[in-house]
Subunit: 387 residues, 2 copies
């Protein structure tokens, strides 16, 4: 894998060797369960490591440690937020609102609750992926329990104006959940300013390990557990705590910061510029304004070629990217996100997502633009869609 250029970091990023190093003692030295803190010293050591990790996450979003629950990942956090809030309402409010471009773990959770008798309204987005705030406001009814609007989009990188969204939810009396799986540490999120009630955080997109995530639950937010069993995680998430995972997650948060984000932003700008210089006829998918776009996200559609073919040819040149959404990569359906943004089937099918990380280099951006040009030109020559 030495010379490969890995540009699928929004799916999963390299676990930072420093993160791995931080985790190692929690495999074969301090391995007791954290809930045995009242029984023995190894349990106390595990508990301390878990609590330190919780504090590091909390501090990053201006939350209290007891507002952070560790879960198995973003998907579980999204399920717990949506279903847990719905169950806690106990037949009172029975209406949910989410955007049309939510991650499937939010959208399908809402749709599942719809089958159980909840109402669901999905809010429109514009051509750059921004939620239609008027439609959002009109969609929230007196019986709306929860609004779930993501922070940053998984495919096109659109960063939603969470302050305005939270303001609308507060004004209309609905809880706000935001899925920050793709934006955490990469876009600002200060919960002392933004009154979101539930926030999903994920580790493996910021060089933490897979199998660990977190859910922020603002103090007093009514939520019922999804996984029953022991009294772990403030009795909101049963199951032996993944201490090594939590420690790795926290270390990844510590290693991420403004300097890293600035570096990734520069790479993003460079890749967009180099692509523009090298390839004719492509469209940028998602916001043109880079400040409203996740720093690592470069998403484009090359006219007159299939995204699938570009992906496979780039892989042969050692460059890893995807078309559409990673979660749907087996499906021939066009990206639901792009259809909601009003794209044609061709543009959606032709989309290529490059997602960058701090382990990428300027030279890799240049090679990626050149390889993209070579692949697209070769494919266009044999394409029935050629002009």
């Amino acid at each position: 894998m030495e010379n490969r250029i890995y540009l699928d970091n929004a799916a999963a990023s390299r676990t930072d060797p420093e993160v791995v190093r931080a985790m190692l003692p929690y495999f074969d030295e301090i391995y007791a369960v954290a809930s045995s803190q009242f029984s023995h010293t190894p349990g106390i050591l595990a508990r301390e490591a878990l609590d330190r990790s919780r504090e590091i996450l909390a501090r990053r979003i201006a939350a209290s440690p007891e507002e952070i629950l560790f879960t198995s990942g973003g998907t579980e956090s999204n399920n717990l937020a949506v279903k847990g809030a719905a169950w806690a309402a106990r037949g009172g409010k029975k209406h949910l609102v989410c955007s049309k471009i939510e991650h499937p773990s939010v959208l399908h959770s809402c749709q599942w609750l719809e089958k159980q008798g909840f109402g669901l309204t999905t809010v429109r987005v514009d051509g750059e992926g921004f939620v239609d705030l008027d439609h959002l406001e009109k969609s929230i009814r007196p019986d709306t329990l929860l609004v779930s609007i993501q922070h940053g989009n998984q495919e096109v990188g659109t960063i939603q104006p969470l302050d305005r969204i939270a303001g609308i939810c507060r004004k209309k009396g609905a809880l706000l959940h935001t899925d920050a799986s793709f934006s955490f540490t990469q876009a600002d999120l200060d919960l002392s300013v933004i009154p979101a009630d539930l926030v999903t955080l994920s580790a493996h997109r910021i060089h933490g390990p897979k199998g660990i995530g977190a859910l922020y639950v603002r103090k007093g937010t009514p939520i019922e557990k999804m996984m029953h069993g022991g009294y772990h995680e403030y009795n909101l998430r049963s199951g032996t705590e993944n201490v090594a995972g939590a420690v790795g997650f926290a270390r990844a948060v510590e290693l991420s910061g403004a300097r890293e984000t600035a570096r990734i932003r520069a790479l993003q700008r460079r890749l967009f510029e180099r692509l523009a210089a090298a390839v004719d006829d492509f469209r940028i998918n998602g916001p043109e304004d880079m400040e409203s776009r996740l720093p690592g996200n470069v998403n484009v559609s090359f006219d007159r070629v299939e995204g699938e073919s570009v992906v496979l040819h780039l892989d042969m040149k050692g460059i890893s990217v995807i078309t559409g959404s990673a979660c749907f990569s087996r499906s021939l359906e066009p990206s639901a996100v792009m259809m909601a943004m009003g794209f044609s089937h061709e543009r959606a099918h032709g989309s290529i997502r490059f997602t960058l990380s701090r382990f990428n280099t300027e030279e890799e951006m240049d090679r990626t633009a050149e390889s993209s040009r070579d692949v697209v030109e070769a494919l266009r020559k044999i394409s029935p869609l050629s002009k």
Copy 2:
């Protein structure tokens, strides 16, 4: 932690250094998501590792790889089995049966479904923790959807006669789920012989990492997913696959076997014998017949002392054990398992669980018996319960 004697392996065991070694490449070398196998080479490598791990687990219980779903652990597997089967029944059969000594993740899942309108019958156990098979048979009604009976008990180590239990369930037309979290690789489980439909497997009790488990789902068993999102794990468990965790789980399975089990059995026998020689007036909790007891489980109640005090004094001597169940260690309730076995409050409160692993030694068993004697004698001298 050098000279400590760790005897809380049924809560969590040391991740074997060989398991850690097997996992390492899946943190910072092969870190793509396994569902990107159709997009790029790193995804193919992740998928291959995941599938190899699945095969290793399947082979151990005579299952097919596509009958194994990876989850975040035993608690999730138990929740998915019980709730997933209930949801899949879609208002048809609405009655559940479980034993009174199931792990809280099974018991509380059943009780939660009870609140949603399902019926629940809990089956009695005898003084050694064996399920009352007559009561089981009588409890299964024509509308019984699922029976959930554990393989080995978490506290007293009782191994249930799964062949007879499965026979009863088959005869009466109910699905059988068995929680093998505490028995997997330590007690035989051949699913080509025993017709269980759903089986929970856990990694961190057999020197695998925390945060990974599995659920066996026999081909054709109706089950609905609990975590919605992408189409992972045969579309029965959404969420980015924890490849490193799965690889570690599989390596732990490979490292466990008849030789290890025989070694642990010998340590178990030795600790029981040494305790009998050193300490007066104690009762064995769980089966007297060692063949019906999980190999690593030694559970006793010392008369006229509080289990809590024994645990804390043993910790001061560097020995890690628990009283009652780890999942309830913060609670002052007596163990639900022991109350169901008909024990007095005193006996339940006085119970000490020593759980052994292949990393323990004969010398440790001897020191543990001696320290137990010293602690119990000292406590008895100051106990108001003294004769």
